[in-house]
């Protein structure tokens, strides 16, 4: 039975195409950036360990957000409430302050995830609509909370510890990202829950008729996504030293792009976690290189968009060629 055992596991160790393409793009971005700095400043800034650690430090927040986003995209759903889940988690936590604040932030993530999951799994509202509504509700709630005057917005000790501090030069945010990643990889590859997520993403009716409790699996995925979002939001507030309105807004598109660039099918069912990590690193480096090149905001946006579309094109062509 050993032959069948290895056969069943084989796909986990093969390298798939989106990941190769992602790595090639990352090398390309670094090469272009390095050529630029060599020419203008005479240094290879982009290849210095300091610079790369700095990128990972701030990139970890996107990494954690995208990790959660991947859980719902695998089911063929999406969570558009991520920006304000991040923001609300951070704002609630700072407004209350202390350990109670930290717990309140996490509690908010839990609540948002449960409501999203309930709406999608039980009320059968399309996730795109339900979570978009949820995002707006959270926005309204936060405006209500802050009233005209700003509440306390300084990061709690825990948030600063996670978001801003380092140990032996290693940013805690990166450690947090690694821990979240390890947990999710474990769920996806080793547990029945993970298998069921892929099954639902591929063919929900077949999964249901196989006796999978599909509603609970959907709830679990939204829960993981919202928890990731508040963890990212709270540590991001630690990094910026405070929580502020709309701080999560710039994370929505990149988090979805990172997942899809990493090879997860937007329709669900297929994709590997390592791809999402590559997608995050790619987006973070791209943004940073464009920053350093001091390109005007308008051009920066255009290049950013074009690179993402170009990558998806290459990836898409490869996939059709496969058949």
């Amino acid at each position: 039975m050993t032959s069948s055992a290895t056969a069943a596991r084989k796909p986990r160790f093969t390298v798939d195409l989106p990941i190769v393409i992602g790595v090639v793009f990352i090398a390309l971005i670094l090469a272009v950036g390095t050529l630029y700095t060599l020419k203008t400043q005479g240094t290879a800034t982009f290849l210095s360990p300091n610079y790369l650690v700095l990128q990972l430090h701030s990139g970890a927040f996107l990494g954690i957000t995208a990790a959660g986003m991947m859980m719902v995209i695998l089911l063929g759903h999406i969570d558009l409430s991520v920006p304000w889940t991040m923001t609300s988690g951070a704002m609630i936590a700072t407004a209350i302050g202390g350990t109670t604040g930290d717990l309140a932030g996490l509690g908010l993530g839990l609540a948002v995830g449960l409501v999203n999951g309930f709406g999608v799994a039980f009320l059968r509202v399309p996730s795109m609509i339900f979570t978009l509504g949820m995002n707006t509700v959270l926005l309204g709630l936060m405006v209500m909370l802050t009233g005209g005057h700003a509440p306390q917005s300084a990061a709690t000790d825990m948030m600063t510890f996670l978001g801003a501090e380092r140990t032996l030069g290693v940013p805690h945010s990166v450690v947090l990202w690694v821990l979240v990643s390890a947990a999710l990889v474990f769920v996806l590859t080793r547990t029945a829950l993970g298998r069921y997520m892929y099954a639902i993403g591929n063919q929900e009716a077949a999964a249901y008729l196989s006796g999978v409790k599909t509603r609970l699996v959907i709830m679990a995925a939204f829960l993981m996504c919202s928890l990731c979002a508040v963890i990212a939001g709270m540590s991001l507030a630690g990094y910026s030293a405070r929580a502020f309105q709309a701080m999560g807004d710039q994370y929505l598109l990149p988090s979805i792009a990172a997942v899809v660039l990493g090879g997860t099918t937007i329709l669900g069912g297929q994709g590997r976690y390592s791809g999402t990590v590559i997608g995050v690193i790619l987006i973070v480096l791209l943004q940073s290189v464009l920053n350093v090149m001091q390109m005007e905001e308008a051009y920066r946006q255009i290049i950013y968009g074009v690179v993402i579309i170009a990558m998806l094109l290459i990836y898409g062509r490869q996939r059709t060629a496969h058949r």
């Binding site: 055992a5 069943a8 892929y198 009716a205």
Partner: protein
């Protein structure tokens, strides 16, 4: 007569494999103008692959293809259509929310000088085409959604004819047609043949081939076994060619019973709207109970209701004498109930097609190999290996998507998935539909073996021969009720048919 003209389509040495499984091996195939060529074979014999290669949907691994003597390599279905090869696939390809006319001209609508769609010309040409296929009664402005299935199939034929084919491929074109429409299709096909078209016809219905084909080709295991003129071989000889051995003793022997077996599943006055008007049934240990009747008399609803899929079912269900509420398939799977359902459509309800064979086999039984929250991979692989061997699933690579298997092997995967849950009650919804004869036989033998080992089996099938051959008892349903129960010698085609038509009640009234 100096030279015979080159055949319209000529394929030489075609081979194709999917994920290590050979679908076609070194096949030569020729289709000539003015000829209806029937392609026969079990599922998985390679017929679909052959057609897909001719229609440009699939590229062969090796081999050449020539149209009118000129070598061609189609990179897309469009190129094949350009060369005059038009294919009507088994699955209906019409868009339900567009009109009949829009669908017929979906790829090349007539245009005005400005390049806009010329709706009037489109309507007129749609009317012409519909008239050509004998369906003047279909209004081109009707939405496809509002047409019954058999009419849709006629629209599909009109659409194919509208592309002006030189070679028209019909894959199970009559499977959804009513008898009157089948006649029309025959007329159309004969007319097209007279016009000099080449026609490839794929069907499982022997009498259709009798009525239509000029030439027959038989495929088995990815090879073309023989090509011959109609009438050269008897039906029996053809069937034997298809399965490669004598076709006898399809059904295993039924056991003789002195007393009725202890009941495992007892359902009392199940109601569901629409479909079930108070259905009661009892299935004993070791019994195979068939559900028969005309299509759509509540048989599907009965199985789904038992399995907990339908919400709002009235009545009671007892398992081993204890009343149980089954609210979902997850409930039905619990060990104290131990129910399994082989669903109607394996592609959408039975399998996760892109996932691996191994993952599909264990999809319903992961709980049994999970320690804490972790899946025990060795235990899972053991189960998969055992099932592949036990069910004789032909598979090259267990990690390959289950979609790469043939229909019969896919169905075996669905059954294997449920056998791993060790079910006491097995419900099957037309499990042999679209499956080759060989696999059917294996499934019959398996059902009998499971029953002998103590399972209670409920088999719904549209094939009367299966009811007669497989079942210890047959319940015939009519308008959401069980109208007749046949046992032993009384299970005959005549009895089933008259019960299905509810003749007894009709004459009594």
């Amino acid at each position: 007569m100096s030279l015979t003209p080159a055949p319209l389509l000529e394929m030489r040495g075609i081979s194709k494999s999917y994920g290590g499984v050979k679908a076609l091996t070194d096949v030569d195939f020729v289709a000539r103008r003015g000829e209806i060529h029937a392609v026969l074979g079990e599922n998985g014999a390679g017929k679909s692959t052959l057609i897909k290669i001719a229609a440009g949907v699939v590229t062969p691994d090796t081999g050449t293809l020539a149209v009118d003597g000129a070598p061609r390599a189609f990179a897309s279905p469009q190129e094949a259509t350009g060369a005059g090869i038009v294919c009507m696939f088994q699955e209906l390809s019409l868009l339900p929310d567009l009109s009949v006319a829009d669908n017929i001209f979906i790829t090349s609508p007539p245009r005005t000088r400005l390049g806009l769609i010329d709706r009037r010309a489109q309507r007129r040409r749609a009317e012409e085409l519909l008239a050509r296929v004998g369906c003047e009664d279909i209004d081109p402005a009707t939405r496809i959604r509002d047409l019954p299935l058999s009419r849709r199939q006629m629209v599909e034929i009109a659409k194919a004819v509208g592309r002006d084919p030189a070679l028209l491929i019909l894959d199970e074109a009559t499977s959804a047609l009513t008898a009157a429409d089948v006649e029309k299709v025959y007329t159309i096909l004969h007319k097209l043949r007279a016009d000099g078209l080449a026609l490839l016809y794929i069907s499982h219905r022997m009498h259709e081939i009798e009525a239509l084909a000029d030439t027959l080709s038989v495929f088995r295991n990815g090879r073309r076994v023989d090509t011959f003129a109609k009438g050269a071989h008897s039906d029996d000889a053809i069937v034997q060619m298809m399965i490669g051995r004598e076709f006898a003793n399809v059904y295993p022997a039924k056991p003789k019973r002195a007393a009725p077996p202890p009941p495992v599943l007892q359902a009392d006055r199940l109601t569901f709207s629409p479909g079930l008007n108070g259905v009661s049934l009892t299935v004993g240990k070791g019994e195979i109970v068939g559900i028969g009747g005309l299509d759509g008399q509540g048989q599907r609803e009965l199985l789904l209701a038992l399995f907990g899929v339908l919400a709002g079912v009235g009545g009671t269900v007892k398992i081993d004498g204890t009343a149980r509420r089954i609210g979902s398939p997850a409930d039905a799977k619990r060990p104290e109930i131990g129910m399994a359902l082989i669903p109607e459509d394996r592609k959408t309800e039975g399998l996760m097609l892109p996932m691996s064979v191994a993952e599909n086999i264990t999809a319903a039984s992961l709980g049994a190999v999970t320690k804490g929250v972790v899946i025990d991979r060795a235990g899972e692989a053991d189960n998969v290996g055992r099932m592949v061997k036990e069910m004789q699933i032909k598979v090259g690579d267990l990690a390959a998507p289950v979609a790469t298997l043939s229909g019969g092997n896919q169905q075996k995967v669905v059954i294997a998935k449920w056998l791993l849950t060790k079910p006491k009650i097995i419900l099957l919804n037309d499990p042999t539909r679209g499956i080759d004869v060989g696999t059917k036989e294996e499934i019959y033998a398996l059902l009998r073996r499971l029953a002998d080992e103590g399972a209670a089996v409920v088999l719904y099938t549209t094939d009367y021969a299966e009811l007669i051959g497989c079942c210890d008892r047959v319940l015939v349903m009519y308008e959401g009720r069980v109208t007749a129960e046949l046992t032993g010698e009384a299970i005959t085609e005549t009895n089933i048919v008259s019960a299905a038509l509810n003749l007894a009640a009709e004459t009594a009234a």
